[in-house]
């Protein structure tokens, strides 16, 4: 099969699986997950083949695999869409398809395939467990098939976004993922919290999306094309950089970059549009992994990386990007330290880590940002699936004790799980260390260190310090999480009865943990390896840029900083939480942090309530029903009024009374007054006739002679 054809085929299996499951295999759970997982496998296989072939191409960045078709007529020519594999797409494909496949397999176990139907389970709510021989056991998800359909579509959206050669299809994949995140966050739609979280996710990201759409429209109208090849050609870029946009003193390139970046702020949950991501935890855990690692938020960062040649032309836009990224990295990290829900901690850590990548891009650290995107995807997918495994184990305990008041996601209900769930523990530990940037062995260390090195080498002090502080907090809250969850003694009866999860869940954890460690070795700097191993990642991805960014040499300051913050944070986290028994003993439960800096509350008061008031009171009641309809309704009385005036002032007095009644009155009067001459006497009549004859005769005579 040619590579071109294969590229077209890669995104299709999950999309077909979506339709096949919804339309045909919906009734059979086994068939549905076979279709779903099979589709993910085919995409992965196709992606691997393309990846390997891509590695064999000399200078792939200049000679990417491309294939295009006409899609939409525009005047005399056609808008083309196509697929393209260059080094950036290749590395994206590698981790996206792998994570997706792992998440699909994991979902089989997570949704309790093979378990009995629940006693009281209904569609739209999480399963509550079944009774078998008097024992409570987990029950299978009632909407099992539907889940595989939805994540199939999700995977399609991401793959389309990664593989396309133009910004429009990128936006399409982007929006399709928006829909899928909506459907999956609200998967348990009967739960009001899940329902509201779904709406929130869709609407918050849509704020960014409409700006992005404007950016695309702007880009299209100034360059006449949306394909990467045309837009990133030297002439076009030079023109875009020199044309002023008339807004904020930005160049056209700067404004387009800014508008597209606002899309990323929404999709990658950067401040101030970060609020949807923590609430997205309402969805089933595999979805969280999908959103946080394989797709969605990675897509936002990918978009900035993809548009980098354009965005990087304007220093103002780049400063804005760096500021948003660095601020978000620290801001989210401060919230994460005070969260008690195991998934929420991870959610804020995602926001924070995405901030690292965005900040890196803002300071032109292109390769470092891409590297961190990939390593983060691996360890964050691992951590989410791990936390799902923990929750699953805890739910086992809850079913065992029957005490449904215990929240299986609250870390203060856990403790000592390392013995109960060893595979989950070790893999989670690897993921957590990678997130913290544990030196030398983990992938997270190498990618984060590269960002520090870049910030230091190019003199971005503020970014460097902010990120260093954020990295310290990251290591701290990660260790807090690991300590509370796995170390010490069980704090509840439920934690004592937690149980390791089935192989369909642990196998993906093991595979992902291999990459959470090993992938970092692909990007180890020269100074460490002494050139024995090439810095493959830097060479491969770095070739995307026209101006090759040379690899940075050794510098002690960023390296020492990375070491200190990672190890210091880990140690602090462990020692502070080693003996904490309950949330009440936790000194960091500061209200402003627990309540996430009150951003949600602020939006509620400042934006949402005014919008609702404006819609139903101002527009509907006052403007439409009151003012506009008021004017319309006044036409009725007004025309009626005119009619009444005519009737009362003219019809009745003039026509009816004066002419109508007047005429009858007059003839009546005339008749009455003529009555005296109607005597009935012939003589009188003859006399009268004579008189008239004479009078008329005289008159005629007079007229004729005169």
């Amino acid at each position: 099969m040619t590579t071109e054809l294969l590229m077209w085929l890669i995104p299709l299996p999950p999309a077909l699986a979506f339709f096949a499951i919804l339309l045909f295999t919906n009734k059979s759970k086994a068939l549905s997950h076979t279709v779903g997982v099979g589709a993910a496998f085919l995409s992965w296989l196709g992606a691997m083949i393309v990846f390997v072939r891509a590695l064999g191409v000399e200078n792939l960045a200049r000679n990417p695999f491309v294939s295009r078709i006409n899609w939409m007529p525009t005047g005399d020519s056609y808008f083309q869409i196509g697929v393209q594999v260059d080094p950036l797409t290749a590395v994206m494909l590698f981790f996206v398809t792998l994570c997706v496949l792992m998440i699909f397999i994991y979902s089989v176990g997570y949704h309790n395939f093979g378990q009995p139907k629940g006693d009281h389970d209904v569609k739209g709510l999480p399963p509550h467990g079944a009774t078998v021989d008097g024992h409570a056991v987990p029950s299978v998800e009632p909407m099992y098939s539907r889940f595989f359909a939805f994540i199939g579509l999700f995977a399609f959206g991401m793959l389309a976004l990664v593989l396309t050669d133009n910004v429009l299809v990128m936006f399409m994949g982007w929006e399709i993922m928006g829909l899928c995140s909506y459907l999956l966050i609200g998967f348990w739609y009967a739960k009001p919290s899940a329902r509201d979280a779904a709406v929130k996710a869709f609407m918050t990201t849509r704020v960014g999306d409409v700006f992005m759409l404007l950016g695309i429209a702007f880009l299209y109208s100034v360059t006449g094309s949306l394909s990467y090849k045309d837009v990133f050609s030297e002439n076009v870029l030079r023109a875009l950089a020199s044309v002023p946009s008339g807004v904020f003193g930005l160049s056209a390139a700067g404004l387009i970059g800014l508008l597209l970046f606002i899309g990323t702020i929404g999709k990658s949950a950067q401040f101030p549009l970060h609020v949807w991501l923590p609430d997205a935890m309402e969805g089933p855990t595999p979805v969280s992994a999908m959103i946080h690692a394989a797709a969605m938020v990675s897509a936002g960062v990918y978009a900035v990386i993809r548009m980098f040649p354009l965005t990087s032309l304007d220093p103002k836009t780049m400063s804005f990007i760096a500021f948003i990224g660095a601020f978000t990295a620290l801001f989210a990290a401060t919230i994460a330290v005070a969260q008690n829900d195991i998934k929420r901690v991870l959610a804020y850590s995602t926001i924070s880590q995405l901030g690292f990548m965005i900040a890196a891009l803002g300071i032109h650290a292109y390769v470092a940002a891409t590297f961190h995107l990939v390593t983060h995807a691996f360890f964050k997918a691992l951590l989410f699936l791990g936390s799902g495994s923990v929750i699953h184990g805890m739910e086992h305990g809850v079913l065992h004790t029957g005490n449904h008041k215990v929240d299986p996601q609250d870390m203060f209900n856990m403790g000592g799980l390392r013995k109960k769930m060893p595979i989950t523990f070790w893999t989670f530990l690897i993921g957590g260390f990678a997130l913290s940037g544990f030196p030398l062995v983990t992938a997270g260390f190498w990618s984060k260190d590269e960002i520090f090195a870049d910030a230091w080498a190019h003199g971005h002090w503020a970014v460097f310090l902010t990120l260093a502080l954020a990295a310290f907090l990251t290591a701290f809250y990660t260790m807090r999480q690991i300590t509370l969850t796995f170390f010490g003694e069980a704090r509840t009866e439920e934690a004592k009865h937690a149980r390791e999860t089935p192989w369909t869940m642990t196998m993906p954890l093991v595979i992902l943990s291999v990459f959470a460690v090993g992938y970092g070795w692909l990007g180890m700097p020269h100074w460490l390896t002494g050139g024995l191993v090439p810095n493959w990642f830097h060479d491969f991805v770095g070739s995307m840029l026209t101006e090759h960014q040379a690899e940075l040499g050794f510098n002690i300051v960023p390296l020492a900083t990375s070491l200190v913050v990672a190890l210091g944070g880990l140690a602090a986290g462990y020692f502070m939480y080693r003996d904490v028994k309950s949330a009440a003993e936790d000194k960091l439960q500061i209200p402003v942090l627990v309540n996430k800096w009150y951003v949600d509350e602020f939006y509620q008061v400042a934006l949402i309530q005014p919008a609702i008031w404006f819609s139903d009171t101002f527009v509907s009641k006052w403007m439409d029903k009151g003012f506009i309809d008021g004017i319309l309704h006044s036409f009725g009385p007004a025309t009626g009024g005119v009619g009444r005036v005519i009737r009362e002032r003219f019809d009745i007095p003039v026509v009816n009374q004066f002419f109508g009644d007047g005429a009858s009155e007059a003839s009546w009067w005339l008749g009455r007054n003529l009555r005296p001459i109607q005597t009935g006497r012939i003589q009188q009549y003859l006399v009268l006739t004579l008189v008239i004859l004479l009078a008329v005769g005289g008159l005629i005579y007079f007229l004729l002679t005169a």
Partner: protein, 506 residues
């Protein structure tokens, strides 16, 4: 066969009317009457497909022209013809009418009259899209009102008298100026033929004296007379308040055609009459038009978000979506002759087609749930997804098309409009994004209230137990959904025809 070729448009146009007249003779058997009406509307559809197969997109000007003497004293001829723009509307009309009739199979009250009205309505709508003579255009324009008036007035819900009267008087009142302006053109040039008027009317120099004024002034007045008539129909803000009432009270199938086709008549009037007859004025007043369009987009979206009645919410969404059509038209008028204009106009026409599909689908789905629950109050639903998953899937699909989700039809046309309007009308395009954002808000509000959340138990058991969407109803939705998906994934199939006509005209 030759007869078919030379009279294709008349056949498409009058088959429904002839069928309606034959229906008078049919025995009083509701089943027979339904199937007869359905069959008759399918004949028009088949003929429209024949038209498509013979249609030459690349040809400039009108095709399949027919011209008969009609009103000799006035020099009005019965002149029909189609180009790519009108063809897409004819296709839309002939697709939606059979579906609307199929959707009405549950009507049991005075079936014969009801079905006849629908067939008359089809002729009225098609006539507007085919007419190449101003007087014929106006005649069909008004003819379409009558069946719709009776459909709302006789088969509507509680507040039908108010709504039907408002609809009729508003639209007729709006067209008074149009009638006068049409008469003036007829008197001035001794013909109502559109093709001739395109040249003669635009060629008049602006400073020539006419009726005590200059031609320029007369043109400006006549321009606004045309605009008001069409703005009421589209409807543009602030002429839109008849629409929520008419839609809400109309029977389901009536709403489908009202939103699906009748609103397009107004937009079509802009494209077929206003822009070609008044190019200078259109360009001059494009900003004002864009202002009204953006007001419709923004206030339509807010208005929709503010409703608690499901059908009113969907009705307001039409104001929002049709605003994009007019924004595209305004951009095309302003930037005429450029790539922007063509893109915007392509978007506007495609948006008309797309809105026809999605709004008809939405109104039908509202009708389906209303028939089962006898309420349109959003607060009284809740969690119905569990009980009627297939209905829920169709509702989410259609809602997403309406929301403009990429991969479905609405996105392509909205993108084209935004792209085309960006350069000529940058500020308005930015403001319109507020409307696009709130499109999401009201669509999600509807889904949230109807399908999601805790189940309202009254619908789960007993006398109010809600039943799943049935096969006939799925068959109404299926063609619409297939077309939505097809247009979203591969817009070429229809856009190619539209684009060629647009490129030739603008």
């Amino acid at each position: 066969m030759d007869f078919l070729n030379t009279h294709l448009l008349s056949l498409i146009l009058f088959v429904p009317t002839i069928a309606a007249l034959i229906m008078l003779l049919l025995p009083n058997d509701a089943r027979l009457q339904r199937w007869f009406a359905f069959g008759a509307s399918l004949i028009s559809l088949v003929l429209a497909l024949v038209l498509w197969s013979k249609f030459d997109p690349a040809a400039v000007g009108f095709q399949f022209e027919e011209k008969y003497v009609w009103y000799e004293a006035l020099n009005s001829t019965f002149h029909l013809g189609v180009d790519g723009i009108s063809f897409s509307m004819i296709l839309l009309t002939t697709i939606l009418t059979p579906l609307a009739i199929l959707a009405s199979f549950n009507i049991s009250d005075r079936v014969k009259t009801y079905m006849m009205l629908f067939l008359f309505l089809e002729t009225g709508m098609l006539g507007v899209f085919m007419a190449l003579d101003l007087l014929i255009f106006f005649a069909f324009w008004e003819i379409g009102l009558v069946p719709m008036y009776f459909l709302i007035n006789q088969w509507g819900s509680a507040n039908k008298d108010y709504a039907s009267l408002k609809f009729l008087i508003y639209t007729m009142g709006g067209s008074l100026g149009l009638l006068l302006a049409v008469q003036m053109l007829g008197v001035l040039f001794g013909t109502y033929d559109l093709v001739a008027l395109y040249e003669k009317w635009t060629a008049l120099p602006a400073d020539l004296p006419l009726m005590g004024m200059t031609v320029g002034t007369v043109k400006t007045i006549a321009f606004w007379a045309f605009v008001v008539a069409f703005a009421v129909k589209v409807p543009l803000w602030p002429f839109h308040t008849w629409l929520p009432d008419a839609h809400t009270e109309a029977p389901t199938a009536g709403s489908m055609l009202l939103a699906g086709v009748l609103l397009k008549l107004g937009a079509y009037g802009f494209i077929r009459l206003v822009l070609p007859l008044y190019p200078v004025e259109s360009k001059y007043f494009a900003g004002a038009l864009a202002f009204l369009a953006v007001a419709a987009i923004v206030f339509g979206a807010f208005g929709s978000f503010g409703q608690s009645d499901f059908k009113r919410l969907v009705a307001y969404s039409s104001v929002n979506h049709m605003g994009f059509v007019v924004l595209g038209i305004a951009a095309a008028a302003l930037a005429v002759g450029t790539m922007d204009a063509r893109t915007a106009m392509n978007g506007a026409v495609l948006q008309m087609f797309n809105h026809g599909l999605s709004s008809a689908g939405m109104f039908f789905l509202v009708g389906v749930i209303y028939e089962r629950t006898h309420t349109r109050d959003l607060e009284r639903y809740g969690g119905l997804f569990t009980l009627i998953p297939a209905y829920g899937a169709l509702l989410i699909f259609t809602s997403m098309a309406s929301l403009g989700l990429p991969g479905l039809n609405g996105f392509v046309s909205e993108f084209l409009v935004v792209r085309g309007a960006y350069q000529p009308l940058t500020a308005y395009t930015f403001i319109s994004m507020l409307g696009l954002f709130f499109t999401g808000a009201y669509i999600l509000k509807a889904i949230k209230k109807v399908l999601h959340g805790p189940l309202d138990e009254q619908w789960a058991h007993g006398e109010h137990k809600i039943s799943e969407i049935n096969l006939r109803e799925v068959l109404v939705m299926a063609p619409l959904m297939i077309l939505m998906l097809l247009t979203g994934i591969y817009p070429m199939w229809i856009l190619d025809i539209i684009n060629k006509a647009v490129t030739a005209l603008f």
